[in-house]
Symmetry: C2
Subunit: 120 residues, 2 copies
DNA sequence: CAGCATCCTGGATGATACTG
DNA sequence: CAGTATCATCCAGGATGCTG
């Protein structure tokens, strides 16, 4: 058996810690979520994820690709069309991430209240 | 009714986007998780979350406090003792965050395989 | 023990210009 | 359209030293 059976993000040298970092990444959550309902092309993603720069979109997509969460398909057309789609592994991330965004939206008011930034 | 009924993290100017940023934060996940089984003092937290600097621990705890996720109790003793505990709101975050860390550990091997970093 | 203040650096991110 | 390349910036985060 492999000596490393258990991953613990609390250990600084555990790979799962890096993975958690990547997931927690500002853009990853939003990109994965955008792809939930089906494949999208580059420009469509850019529009969905407001405020992301072209560079960060490319970069994050590349990471997601190497991690096996997203597949990238290039169509030999003019003008070029590139399609991004969640892999099965990527799909499996939808549930935990969805739970997170749901929490964020559902409890936003409580947090704002705690901050004192909840306008009357 | 409030004009802002729905929060969407996909909108760059939505407060829930910031909240998601904070939650996804590298240390927040680990700190909240550490407090799951009960209150801890500063030094205990420092030991649990491997690799965190004193500065980041303090800073993150302060943020969690202002956001109403964690309570901070100072005991008037010598030497000083400070206790951190999850608030009910913070507790409600345990489930979604737990799902996330669980995903990270459960699918680590698949990601490593995709990366090609899975040693034979 | 639990912190605050200060300095400092790398890497994350953005802006801009160019291309197959 | 979907990038790449380059430069510029900013700040998260570490290191260190001091304190109630």
């Amino acid at each position: 058996m492999d000596p490393v059976l258990v991953y613990s993000p609390y250990a600084s040298d555990c790979p799962s810690r890096q993975l958690l970092d990547r997931i927690g990444d500002r853009w990853t959550v939003l990109i994965i979520g955008s792809l939930e309902e089906g494949p999208l092309r580059f420009s469509e993603l850019r529009r969905r994820v407001e405020g992301i720069s072209q560079k960060m979109l490319t970069q994050t997509l590349r990471s997601l690709e190497t991690d096996g969460l997203v597949t990238r398909t290039v169509f030999a057309e003019i003008p070029p069309r590139v399609q991004y789609e969640l892999s099965p592994l990527g799909r499996s991330l939808l549930e935990p991430l969805g739970a997170l965004t749901r929490w964020a939206t559902e409890h936003m008011d409580e947090v704002r209240a705690a901050r004192g930034t909840l306008a009357s």
